[in-house]
Symmetry: C2
Subunit: 247 residues, 2 copies
DNA sequence: ATAGTTAGCGTATTTTTTACGTTAACTTTG
DNA sequence: CAAAGTTAACGTAAAAAATACGCTAACTAT
Protein backbone atom coordinates (compact mmCIF):
# COMPACT_ATOMS: atom_id res chain seq x y z
CA UNK A 1 0.00 0.00 0.00
CA UNK A 2 1.54 3.26 -1.07
CA UNK A 3 0.36 6.62 0.05
CA UNK A 4 0.50 9.71 -2.05
CA UNK A 5 3.14 11.87 -0.49
CA UNK A 6 1.10 14.96 -1.04
CA UNK A 7 -0.14 17.55 1.38
CA UNK A 8 -3.57 17.76 -0.13
CA UNK A 9 -6.19 15.07 -0.08
CA UNK A 10 -9.42 15.47 -1.96
CA UNK A 11 -12.20 17.13 -0.04
CA UNK A 12 -15.20 14.96 0.62
CA UNK A 13 -18.73 16.16 0.26
CA UNK A 14 -22.20 14.73 0.32
CA UNK A 15 -24.85 15.63 -2.23
CA UNK A 16 -28.51 14.83 -1.76
CA UNK A 17 -31.03 14.17 -4.46
CA UNK A 18 -34.18 14.97 -2.52
CA UNK A 19 -37.30 13.65 -4.19
CA UNK A 20 -40.80 14.84 -3.49
CA UNK A 21 -44.15 14.15 -5.07
CA UNK A 22 -46.84 16.75 -5.57
CA UNK A 23 -49.51 17.60 -8.13
CA UNK A 24 -48.77 14.31 -9.82
CA UNK A 25 -45.19 15.24 -10.51
CA UNK A 26 -41.93 13.89 -9.25
CA UNK A 27 -39.82 16.77 -8.05
CA UNK A 28 -36.32 17.40 -6.80
CA UNK A 29 -35.28 20.00 -4.32
CA UNK A 30 -32.58 22.23 -5.77
CA UNK A 31 -30.62 25.10 -4.34
CA UNK A 32 -30.84 28.35 -6.22
CA UNK A 33 -27.40 29.82 -6.65
CA UNK A 34 -26.91 33.46 -7.54
CA UNK A 35 -23.34 34.65 -7.88
CA UNK A 36 -20.93 36.65 -9.96
CA UNK A 37 -19.29 34.77 -12.82
CA UNK A 38 -15.76 35.20 -14.12
CA UNK A 39 -16.88 37.74 -16.71
CA UNK A 40 -18.31 39.83 -13.90
CA UNK A 41 -21.95 39.35 -14.73
CA UNK A 42 -24.48 37.84 -12.36
CA UNK A 43 -25.22 34.15 -12.86
CA UNK A 44 -28.28 32.35 -11.64
CA UNK A 45 -28.32 28.62 -11.66
CA UNK A 46 -29.09 25.56 -9.57
CA UNK A 47 -27.21 22.91 -7.68
CA UNK A 48 -27.97 19.93 -5.51
CA UNK A 49 -28.14 20.41 -1.77
CA UNK A 50 -24.89 19.22 -0.32
CA UNK A 51 -22.04 20.06 1.94
CA UNK A 52 -18.49 19.18 2.80
CA UNK A 53 -18.21 16.75 5.64
CA UNK A 54 -16.52 17.95 8.75
CA UNK A 55 -13.42 16.11 9.83
CA UNK A 56 -15.09 13.85 12.32
CA UNK A 57 -18.46 13.53 10.71
CA UNK A 58 -19.98 10.32 9.46
CA UNK A 59 -21.05 10.52 5.83
CA UNK A 60 -24.59 9.36 6.58
CA UNK A 61 -24.86 11.93 9.32
CA UNK A 62 -23.54 14.66 7.06
CA UNK A 63 -26.25 13.79 4.59
CA UNK A 64 -29.03 13.83 7.17
CA UNK A 65 -27.65 17.07 8.58
CA UNK A 66 -27.81 18.64 5.13
CA UNK A 67 -31.34 17.39 4.73
CA UNK A 68 -32.45 18.66 8.09
CA UNK A 69 -30.85 22.07 7.62
CA UNK A 70 -32.72 22.46 4.38
CA UNK A 71 -36.13 21.07 5.25
CA UNK A 72 -36.30 20.91 9.01
CA UNK A 73 -37.02 17.19 8.73
CA UNK A 74 -35.49 14.38 10.76
CA UNK A 75 -35.66 10.62 10.37
CA UNK A 76 -36.19 10.72 6.67
CA UNK A 77 -35.59 7.99 4.11
CA UNK A 78 -32.02 8.54 2.98
CA UNK A 79 -29.81 6.16 1.03
CA UNK A 80 -26.34 6.41 -0.38
CA UNK A 81 -26.36 5.23 -3.96
CA UNK A 82 -23.04 6.13 -5.56
CA UNK A 83 -19.96 8.22 -5.25
CA UNK A 84 -18.52 10.53 -7.81
CA UNK A 85 -14.84 11.16 -7.81
CA UNK A 86 -13.59 11.84 -11.32
CA UNK A 87 -10.75 14.33 -11.01
CA UNK A 88 -12.24 16.39 -13.82
CA UNK A 89 -15.75 16.54 -12.41
CA UNK A 90 -15.24 20.12 -11.25
CA UNK A 91 -13.92 21.65 -14.42
CA UNK A 92 -16.26 24.50 -15.10
CA UNK A 93 -14.62 27.86 -14.39
CA UNK A 94 -17.84 29.18 -12.86
CA UNK A 95 -18.00 26.28 -10.45
CA UNK A 96 -14.37 26.50 -9.42
CA UNK A 97 -14.66 30.22 -8.73
CA UNK A 98 -17.84 29.73 -6.80
CA UNK A 99 -16.32 26.97 -4.68
CA UNK A 100 -13.28 29.03 -3.83
CA UNK A 101 -15.37 32.09 -3.11
CA UNK A 102 -17.89 30.38 -0.86
CA UNK A 103 -15.37 28.27 1.02
CA UNK A 104 -12.50 30.69 1.19
CA UNK A 105 -10.18 27.83 0.28
CA UNK A 106 -8.47 26.61 -2.84
CA UNK A 107 -10.55 23.53 -3.50
CA UNK A 108 -8.65 21.28 -5.84
CA UNK A 109 -10.70 18.17 -5.96
CA UNK A 110 -13.91 16.96 -4.43
CA UNK A 111 -15.10 13.42 -4.07
CA UNK A 112 -18.78 13.33 -3.35
CA UNK A 113 -20.96 10.72 -1.78
CA UNK A 114 -24.40 10.84 -3.35
CA UNK A 115 -27.58 10.15 -1.41
CA UNK A 116 -31.16 10.14 -2.42
CA UNK A 117 -33.95 10.98 -0.12
CA UNK A 118 -37.73 10.65 -0.25
CA UNK A 119 -39.86 13.15 1.55
CA UNK A 120 -43.50 13.97 1.81
CA UNK A 121 -43.82 17.60 0.78
CA UNK A 122 -45.91 19.60 3.23
CA UNK A 123 -46.51 23.28 3.56
CA UNK A 124 -44.28 23.39 6.61
CA UNK A 125 -41.22 21.75 5.16
CA UNK A 126 -41.76 23.39 1.80
CA UNK A 127 -41.77 26.87 3.34
CA UNK A 128 -38.72 25.90 5.32
CA UNK A 129 -36.91 24.88 2.16
CA UNK A 130 -37.93 27.97 0.25
CA UNK A 131 -36.57 30.15 3.02
CA UNK A 132 -33.29 28.32 2.54
CA UNK A 133 -33.20 29.35 -1.06
CA UNK A 134 -34.34 26.03 -2.39
CA UNK A 135 -37.00 25.21 -4.97
CA UNK A 136 -38.97 22.13 -5.89
CA UNK A 137 -38.44 21.47 -9.56
CA UNK A 138 -40.22 18.94 -11.72
CA UNK A 139 -37.80 16.17 -12.61
CA UNK A 140 -38.75 16.66 -16.26
CA UNK A 141 -37.73 20.29 -16.17
CA UNK A 142 -34.46 20.30 -14.33
CA UNK A 143 -32.24 23.00 -15.86
CA UNK A 144 -28.53 22.63 -16.47
CA UNK A 145 -26.92 22.22 -13.10
CA UNK A 146 -23.62 23.07 -11.51
CA UNK A 147 -20.78 20.55 -11.41
CA UNK A 148 -21.86 17.08 -12.54
CA UNK A 149 -25.12 17.34 -10.69
CA UNK A 150 -27.14 16.44 -13.79
CA UNK A 151 -25.41 13.08 -13.82
CA UNK A 152 -25.99 12.60 -10.12
CA UNK A 153 -29.71 13.28 -10.44
CA UNK A 154 -30.05 10.96 -13.44
CA UNK A 155 -28.25 8.27 -11.50
CA UNK A 156 -30.34 8.84 -8.41
CA UNK A 157 -33.54 8.56 -10.41
CA UNK A 158 -32.40 5.22 -11.81
CA UNK A 159 -31.78 3.96 -8.30
CA UNK A 160 -35.16 5.21 -7.18
CA UNK A 161 -36.87 3.42 -10.06
CA UNK A 162 -35.06 0.18 -9.37
CA UNK A 163 -35.77 0.29 -5.66
CA UNK A 164 -39.42 1.18 -6.19
CA UNK A 165 -39.83 -2.04 -8.15
CA UNK A 166 -38.43 -4.12 -5.33
CA UNK A 167 -39.26 -2.44 -2.07
CA UNK A 168 -42.22 -0.54 -0.67
CA UNK A 169 -40.70 2.93 -0.60
CA UNK A 170 -43.39 4.82 -2.46
CA UNK A 171 -45.07 5.56 0.86
CA UNK A 172 -42.16 7.73 1.89
CA UNK A 173 -43.28 10.27 -0.68
CA UNK A 174 -46.89 10.34 0.46
CA UNK A 175 -48.62 11.60 3.59
CA UNK A 176 -49.47 9.17 6.36
CA UNK A 177 -52.85 8.42 4.82
CA UNK A 178 -53.40 8.28 1.11
CA UNK A 179 -55.68 6.70 -1.44
CA UNK A 180 -54.62 3.93 -3.78
CA UNK A 181 -54.97 6.12 -6.82
CA UNK A 182 -52.32 8.49 -5.44
CA UNK A 183 -49.96 5.61 -4.91
CA UNK A 184 -50.58 4.37 -8.42
CA UNK A 185 -49.95 7.79 -9.93
CA UNK A 186 -46.73 7.95 -7.99
CA UNK A 187 -45.62 4.61 -9.44
CA UNK A 188 -46.63 5.72 -12.91
CA UNK A 189 -44.76 8.98 -12.73
CA UNK A 190 -41.60 7.46 -11.29
CA UNK A 191 -41.54 4.42 -13.53
CA UNK A 192 -42.65 6.43 -16.52
CA UNK A 193 -45.37 4.08 -17.70
CA UNK A 194 -49.11 3.63 -17.37
CA UNK A 195 -50.36 0.88 -15.08
CA UNK A 196 -53.69 -0.87 -15.13
CA UNK A 197 -55.59 0.36 -12.10
CA UNK A 198 -57.35 -2.95 -11.44
CA UNK A 199 -54.14 -4.95 -11.54
CA UNK A 200 -52.26 -2.37 -9.56
CA UNK A 201 -54.88 -2.51 -6.84
CA UNK A 202 -54.77 -6.30 -6.73
CA UNK A 203 -51.02 -6.42 -6.51
CA UNK A 204 -50.65 -3.74 -3.91
CA UNK A 205 -53.45 -5.10 -1.74
CA UNK A 206 -52.05 -8.61 -1.90
CA UNK A 207 -49.16 -7.23 0.14
CA UNK A 208 -50.52 -7.27 3.63
CA UNK A 209 -48.91 -4.00 4.63
CA UNK A 210 -51.66 -1.85 3.14
CA UNK A 211 -54.06 -1.05 5.94
CA UNK A 212 -57.46 0.31 5.00
CA UNK A 213 -58.72 3.11 7.22
CA UNK A 214 -62.37 3.82 7.98
CA UNK A 215 -62.15 7.30 6.60
CA UNK A 216 -63.16 7.99 3.02
CA UNK A 217 -62.46 10.92 0.76
CA UNK A 218 -65.05 13.64 1.02
CA UNK A 219 -66.14 16.41 -1.28
CA UNK A 220 -65.08 14.64 -4.45
CA UNK A 221 -67.36 14.51 -7.45
CA UNK A 222 -67.28 10.73 -7.71
CA UNK A 223 -67.34 7.63 -5.55
CA UNK A 224 -65.09 8.46 -2.63
CA UNK A 225 -62.02 6.30 -2.10
CA UNK A 226 -60.95 4.80 1.20
CA UNK A 227 -57.78 6.04 2.78
CA UNK A 228 -54.98 3.60 3.46
CA UNK A 229 -51.80 3.69 5.44
CA UNK A 230 -48.58 1.70 5.13
CA UNK A 231 -47.79 -0.59 8.04
CA UNK A 232 -44.07 -1.06 8.31
CA UNK A 233 -44.32 -3.73 10.99
CA UNK A 234 -46.48 -5.94 8.85
CA UNK A 235 -44.11 -5.41 5.96
CA UNK A 236 -41.09 -6.44 8.00
CA UNK A 237 -42.95 -9.55 9.15
CA UNK A 238 -43.95 -10.71 5.69
CA UNK A 239 -40.81 -9.49 3.96
CA UNK A 240 -39.75 -12.82 2.49
CA UNK A 241 -43.11 -13.50 0.94
CA UNK A 242 -43.55 -10.21 -0.80
CA UNK A 243 -40.48 -9.63 -2.90
CA UNK A 244 -40.74 -7.20 -5.69
CA UNK A 245 -43.08 -6.02 -8.33
CA UNK A 246 -42.71 -6.81 -11.97
CA UNK A 247 -44.55 -3.99 -13.62
CA UNK B 1 -21.96 25.65 2.11
CA UNK B 2 -19.42 25.75 4.87
CA UNK B 3 -16.02 24.18 4.77
CA UNK B 4 -14.20 22.80 7.74
CA UNK B 5 -11.33 25.14 8.42
CA UNK B 6 -9.02 22.24 9.06
CA UNK B 7 -5.76 21.29 7.44
CA UNK B 8 -6.54 17.65 7.27
CA UNK B 9 -9.13 16.05 5.06
CA UNK B 10 -9.87 12.39 5.30
CA UNK B 11 -7.77 10.16 3.14
CA UNK B 12 -9.66 8.31 0.47
CA UNK B 13 -9.02 4.72 -0.37
CA UNK B 14 -10.54 2.04 -2.51
CA UNK B 15 -11.09 -1.51 -1.27
CA UNK B 16 -11.90 -4.38 -3.58
CA UNK B 17 -13.90 -7.46 -2.73
CA UNK B 18 -12.57 -9.75 -5.43
CA UNK B 19 -14.73 -12.80 -5.94
CA UNK B 20 -13.61 -15.99 -7.62
CA UNK B 21 -15.19 -19.37 -8.11
CA UNK B 22 -13.32 -22.64 -7.96
CA UNK B 23 -13.90 -26.20 -6.73
CA UNK B 24 -17.54 -25.28 -6.25
CA UNK B 25 -16.73 -22.60 -3.74
CA UNK B 26 -17.15 -18.87 -3.80
CA UNK B 27 -13.87 -17.29 -2.77
CA UNK B 28 -12.49 -13.88 -2.00
CA UNK B 29 -8.98 -12.74 -2.61
CA UNK B 30 -7.41 -11.45 0.60
CA UNK B 31 -4.06 -9.92 1.37
CA UNK B 32 -2.03 -11.68 4.01
CA UNK B 33 -0.64 -9.16 6.43
CA UNK B 34 2.27 -10.00 8.72
CA UNK B 35 3.43 -7.26 11.03
CA UNK B 36 4.46 -6.37 14.52
CA UNK B 37 1.67 -5.46 16.87
CA UNK B 38 1.75 -2.88 19.66
CA UNK B 39 2.77 -5.51 22.22
CA UNK B 40 5.76 -6.33 20.07
CA UNK B 41 4.65 -9.76 18.96
CA UNK B 42 4.18 -10.75 15.34
CA UNK B 43 0.62 -10.64 14.06
CA UNK B 44 -0.67 -12.45 11.02
CA UNK B 45 -4.00 -11.49 9.65
CA UNK B 46 -5.86 -10.60 6.48
CA UNK B 47 -7.25 -7.54 4.81
CA UNK B 48 -9.00 -6.64 1.61
CA UNK B 49 -6.91 -5.54 -1.34
CA UNK B 50 -7.05 -1.78 -1.53
CA UNK B 51 -5.06 1.37 -1.80
CA UNK B 52 -5.19 5.06 -1.25
CA UNK B 53 -6.05 7.00 -4.33
CA UNK B 54 -3.46 9.35 -5.67
CA UNK B 55 -4.37 13.00 -5.83
CA UNK B 56 -5.40 13.02 -9.47
CA UNK B 57 -6.69 9.51 -9.76
CA UNK B 58 -10.23 8.53 -10.60
CA UNK B 59 -11.75 6.20 -8.03
CA UNK B 60 -12.74 3.62 -10.65
CA UNK B 61 -9.24 3.71 -12.07
CA UNK B 62 -7.69 3.34 -8.63
CA UNK B 63 -9.80 0.24 -8.13
CA UNK B 64 -8.85 -1.29 -11.46
CA UNK B 65 -5.22 -0.41 -10.81
CA UNK B 66 -5.37 -2.22 -7.47
CA UNK B 67 -6.94 -5.19 -9.19
CA UNK B 68 -4.39 -5.26 -11.96
CA UNK B 69 -1.44 -4.92 -9.62
CA UNK B 70 -2.70 -7.87 -7.66
CA UNK B 71 -3.81 -10.23 -10.40
CA UNK B 72 -2.29 -8.97 -13.61
CA UNK B 73 -5.78 -8.72 -15.07
CA UNK B 74 -7.27 -5.86 -17.08
CA UNK B 75 -10.81 -5.17 -18.23
CA UNK B 76 -12.41 -7.03 -15.40
CA UNK B 77 -15.93 -6.73 -14.03
CA UNK B 78 -15.67 -4.10 -11.33
CA UNK B 79 -18.48 -2.21 -9.64
CA UNK B 80 -18.63 0.31 -6.87
CA UNK B 81 -21.26 -0.72 -4.37
CA UNK B 82 -20.90 1.39 -1.23
CA UNK B 83 -18.64 3.71 0.67
CA UNK B 84 -17.62 3.42 4.25
CA UNK B 85 -16.79 6.55 6.10
CA UNK B 86 -17.65 6.17 9.76
CA UNK B 87 -15.08 8.19 11.70
CA UNK B 88 -14.58 5.27 14.08
CA UNK B 89 -14.09 2.62 11.43
CA UNK B 90 -10.36 2.56 12.01
CA UNK B 91 -10.32 2.17 15.74
CA UNK B 92 -8.26 -0.93 16.31
CA UNK B 93 -4.81 -0.11 17.72
CA UNK B 94 -3.22 -2.77 15.52
CA UNK B 95 -4.73 -1.26 12.40
CA UNK B 96 -3.79 2.30 13.29
CA UNK B 97 -0.19 1.31 13.97
CA UNK B 98 -0.04 -0.70 10.79
CA UNK B 99 -1.40 2.17 8.72
CA UNK B 100 1.04 4.65 10.15
CA UNK B 101 3.94 2.24 9.76
CA UNK B 102 3.23 1.28 6.18
CA UNK B 103 2.39 4.75 4.98
CA UNK B 104 4.82 6.75 7.03
CA UNK B 105 2.06 9.25 7.73
CA UNK B 106 -0.27 9.97 10.57
CA UNK B 107 -3.46 8.68 9.05
CA UNK B 108 -6.38 10.10 10.97
CA UNK B 109 -9.37 9.05 9.02
CA UNK B 110 -10.01 7.07 5.88
CA UNK B 111 -13.12 7.08 3.77
CA UNK B 112 -13.14 4.08 1.51
CA UNK B 113 -14.96 3.43 -1.72
CA UNK B 114 -15.83 -0.24 -1.91
CA UNK B 115 -15.83 -2.18 -5.17
CA UNK B 116 -16.60 -5.75 -5.94
CA UNK B 117 -15.03 -7.61 -8.76
CA UNK B 118 -15.67 -10.93 -10.47
CA UNK B 119 -12.82 -12.82 -11.95
CA UNK B 120 -12.25 -16.18 -13.49
CA UNK B 121 -9.50 -17.80 -11.46
CA UNK B 122 -6.79 -19.28 -13.65
CA UNK B 123 -3.39 -20.70 -12.83
CA UNK B 124 -1.77 -17.61 -14.29
CA UNK B 125 -3.64 -14.99 -12.34
CA UNK B 126 -3.71 -17.14 -9.24
CA UNK B 127 0.09 -17.50 -9.22
CA UNK B 128 0.31 -13.79 -9.84
CA UNK B 129 -1.85 -13.08 -6.82
CA UNK B 130 -0.02 -15.50 -4.57
CA UNK B 131 3.27 -13.85 -5.42
CA UNK B 132 1.68 -10.63 -4.24
CA UNK B 133 0.99 -12.13 -0.89
CA UNK B 134 -2.65 -12.78 -1.54
CA UNK B 135 -4.74 -15.87 -0.92
CA UNK B 136 -8.05 -17.16 -2.20
CA UNK B 137 -10.25 -17.85 0.78
CA UNK B 138 -13.60 -19.58 0.83
CA UNK B 139 -16.29 -17.03 1.62
CA UNK B 140 -17.55 -19.36 4.35
CA UNK B 141 -14.19 -19.36 6.07
CA UNK B 142 -13.11 -15.77 6.03
CA UNK B 143 -11.23 -15.07 9.26
CA UNK B 144 -11.55 -11.89 11.27
CA UNK B 145 -10.28 -9.11 9.11
CA UNK B 146 -8.52 -5.82 9.60
CA UNK B 147 -10.50 -2.57 9.85
CA UNK B 148 -14.17 -3.02 9.01
CA UNK B 149 -13.38 -5.33 6.14
CA UNK B 150 -15.74 -8.02 7.43
CA UNK B 151 -18.61 -5.62 6.99
CA UNK B 152 -17.42 -4.63 3.55
CA UNK B 153 -17.26 -8.25 2.40
CA UNK B 154 -20.68 -9.06 3.83
CA UNK B 155 -22.06 -6.04 2.07
CA UNK B 156 -20.34 -6.90 -1.18
CA UNK B 157 -21.75 -10.41 -1.07
CA UNK B 158 -25.26 -9.05 -0.68
CA UNK B 159 -24.77 -6.87 -3.70
CA UNK B 160 -23.43 -9.80 -5.66
CA UNK B 161 -26.45 -11.90 -4.74
CA UNK B 162 -28.87 -9.20 -5.69
CA UNK B 163 -27.18 -8.50 -8.99
CA UNK B 164 -26.91 -12.19 -9.85
CA UNK B 165 -30.69 -12.42 -9.63
CA UNK B 166 -31.17 -9.59 -12.05
CA UNK B 167 -28.29 -9.55 -14.47
CA UNK B 168 -26.20 -12.16 -16.22
CA UNK B 169 -22.96 -11.69 -14.34
CA UNK B 170 -22.28 -15.29 -13.32
CA UNK B 171 -20.29 -15.74 -16.50
CA UNK B 172 -17.68 -13.34 -15.24
CA UNK B 173 -16.64 -15.94 -12.71
CA UNK B 174 -16.35 -18.76 -15.23
CA UNK B 175 -13.97 -19.47 -18.09
CA UNK B 176 -14.94 -18.55 -21.63
CA UNK B 177 -16.54 -21.94 -22.18
CA UNK B 178 -18.38 -23.76 -19.46
CA UNK B 179 -21.09 -26.33 -18.96
CA UNK B 180 -24.52 -25.53 -17.61
CA UNK B 181 -23.93 -27.56 -14.47
CA UNK B 182 -21.02 -25.30 -13.53
CA UNK B 183 -23.19 -22.25 -13.98
CA UNK B 184 -25.90 -23.79 -11.85
CA UNK B 185 -23.47 -24.69 -9.07
CA UNK B 186 -22.24 -21.12 -9.16
CA UNK B 187 -25.78 -19.82 -8.72
CA UNK B 188 -26.40 -22.30 -5.93
CA UNK B 189 -23.27 -21.38 -4.04
CA UNK B 190 -23.75 -17.65 -4.36
CA UNK B 191 -27.46 -17.63 -3.63
CA UNK B 192 -27.07 -20.26 -0.93
CA UNK B 193 -29.89 -22.52 -2.04
CA UNK B 194 -30.44 -25.61 -4.17
CA UNK B 195 -31.96 -25.17 -7.60
CA UNK B 196 -33.78 -27.72 -9.70
CA UNK B 197 -31.48 -28.59 -12.57
CA UNK B 198 -34.28 -29.06 -15.10
CA UNK B 199 -35.88 -25.74 -14.31
CA UNK B 200 -32.56 -23.96 -14.15
CA UNK B 201 -31.67 -25.26 -17.58
CA UNK B 202 -35.00 -24.15 -19.03
CA UNK B 203 -34.73 -20.70 -17.56
CA UNK B 204 -31.16 -20.07 -18.52
CA UNK B 205 -31.60 -21.40 -22.06
CA UNK B 206 -34.68 -19.32 -22.63
CA UNK B 207 -32.33 -16.33 -22.45
CA UNK B 208 -30.92 -16.20 -25.94
CA UNK B 209 -27.45 -15.27 -24.81
CA UNK B 210 -26.38 -18.83 -24.03
CA UNK B 211 -24.58 -20.12 -27.11
CA UNK B 212 -24.04 -23.86 -27.36
CA UNK B 213 -20.65 -24.87 -28.72
CA UNK B 214 -19.95 -28.02 -30.71
CA UNK B 215 -17.44 -29.27 -28.18
CA UNK B 216 -18.50 -31.68 -25.46
CA UNK B 217 -16.85 -32.66 -22.24
CA UNK B 218 -14.49 -35.60 -22.61
CA UNK B 219 -13.13 -38.16 -20.20
CA UNK B 220 -16.02 -37.90 -17.79
CA UNK B 221 -17.65 -41.02 -16.37
CA UNK B 222 -21.12 -40.04 -17.52
CA UNK B 223 -22.93 -38.51 -20.45
CA UNK B 224 -20.71 -35.60 -21.54
CA UNK B 225 -22.20 -32.12 -21.40
CA UNK B 226 -21.99 -29.55 -24.15
CA UNK B 227 -19.96 -26.45 -23.57
CA UNK B 228 -21.60 -23.10 -23.78
CA UNK B 229 -20.41 -19.54 -23.96
CA UNK B 230 -22.07 -16.27 -22.99
CA UNK B 231 -22.77 -13.88 -25.83
CA UNK B 232 -22.79 -10.35 -24.54
CA UNK B 233 -23.97 -8.86 -27.83
CA UNK B 234 -27.07 -10.99 -27.87
CA UNK B 235 -27.70 -10.10 -24.27
CA UNK B 236 -27.46 -6.37 -24.94
CA UNK B 237 -29.87 -6.77 -27.86
CA UNK B 238 -32.53 -8.63 -25.90
CA UNK B 239 -31.97 -6.80 -22.64
CA UNK B 240 -35.50 -5.50 -22.18
CA UNK B 241 -37.08 -8.88 -22.72
CA UNK B 242 -34.97 -10.83 -20.27
CA UNK B 243 -35.12 -9.04 -16.96
CA UNK B 244 -34.28 -10.98 -13.89
CA UNK B 245 -34.61 -14.39 -12.41
CA UNK B 246 -36.88 -15.21 -9.57
CA UNK B 247 -35.24 -18.23 -8.04
C1' DA C 1 -22.09 -56.78 -19.74
C1' DT C 2 -23.44 -54.11 -15.74
C1' DA C 3 -23.58 -50.51 -12.47
C1' DG C 4 -23.05 -45.79 -11.51
C1' DT C 5 -23.36 -41.10 -12.88
C1' DT C 6 -24.70 -36.75 -14.95
C1' DA C 7 -26.96 -34.69 -19.32
C1' DG C 8 -30.85 -33.30 -21.36
C1' DC C 9 -35.74 -33.37 -22.69
C1' DG C 10 -40.55 -33.40 -21.39
C1' DT C 11 -45.22 -32.95 -18.95
C1' DA C 12 -48.59 -31.70 -15.48
C1' DT C 13 -49.85 -28.39 -11.83
C1' DT C 14 -49.82 -24.18 -9.53
C1' DT C 15 -48.99 -19.35 -9.29
C1' DT C 16 -48.49 -14.88 -11.31
C1' DT C 17 -49.36 -11.62 -14.77
C1' DT C 18 -52.15 -9.45 -18.10
C1' DA C 19 -56.29 -7.77 -20.29
C1' DC C 20 -60.60 -6.13 -19.86
C1' DG C 21 -65.97 -5.77 -18.18
C1' DT C 22 -69.24 -4.03 -14.81
C1' DT C 23 -71.50 -1.92 -10.90
C1' DA C 24 -71.24 1.57 -6.97
C1' DA C 25 -71.13 6.11 -5.00
C1' DC C 26 -70.36 10.54 -5.11
C1' DT C 27 -70.94 15.75 -7.30
C1' DT C 28 -72.23 18.81 -10.90
C1' DT C 29 -75.33 20.43 -14.33
C1' DG C 30 -79.54 21.68 -16.70
C1' DC D 1 -84.26 16.23 -9.03
C1' DA D 2 -82.97 13.36 -12.78
C1' DA D 3 -79.22 12.75 -15.82
C1' DA D 4 -74.46 13.03 -16.86
C1' DG D 5 -69.84 12.66 -15.52
C1' DT D 6 -66.29 10.68 -12.84
C1' DT D 7 -63.45 7.58 -10.21
C1' DA D 8 -63.76 3.43 -6.82
C1' DA D 9 -63.90 -1.22 -6.28
C1' DC D 10 -64.74 -5.94 -7.41
C1' DG D 11 -64.43 -9.77 -10.65
C1' DT D 12 -63.32 -13.24 -14.50
C1' DA D 13 -60.87 -15.42 -18.33
C1' DA D 14 -56.68 -16.22 -20.74
C1' DA D 15 -51.71 -16.19 -21.10
C1' DA D 16 -47.26 -16.65 -19.13
C1' DA D 17 -44.08 -18.06 -15.66
C1' DA D 18 -42.63 -20.85 -11.92
C1' DT D 19 -42.54 -25.29 -9.71
C1' DA D 20 -42.41 -30.22 -9.12
C1' DC D 21 -41.33 -34.23 -10.94
C1' DG D 22 -40.27 -38.66 -14.45
C1' DC D 23 -37.53 -40.62 -17.84
C1' DT D 24 -34.01 -41.84 -21.39
C1' DA D 25 -29.15 -40.97 -23.25
C1' DA D 26 -24.30 -41.36 -23.13
C1' DC D 27 -20.33 -41.82 -21.08
C1' DT D 28 -16.63 -44.46 -17.63
C1' DA D 29 -15.24 -47.79 -14.21
C1' DT D 30 -15.55 -52.51 -12.69
Amino acid sequence: MNVPGREINPHISVDCVIFGFSTNQLKVLLIKRAHTGPSGKRIKDHKLPGDFITINEDLDLAASRTLEELTGLKDIYLQQFAFFGRPGRISNRVDIDWLNATTGHEIQRVVTAAYYSLINITETNSDFAIKNNAAWIDIQQVPDLAFDHDTIIANGLKHLQKTLRNEPIGFELLPEKFIIRELQSLYEVILGCALDNRNFRKKILKSKYMVQLEEKQSGVAHKPAYYYRFDRNIYEKHKKESLGFNF
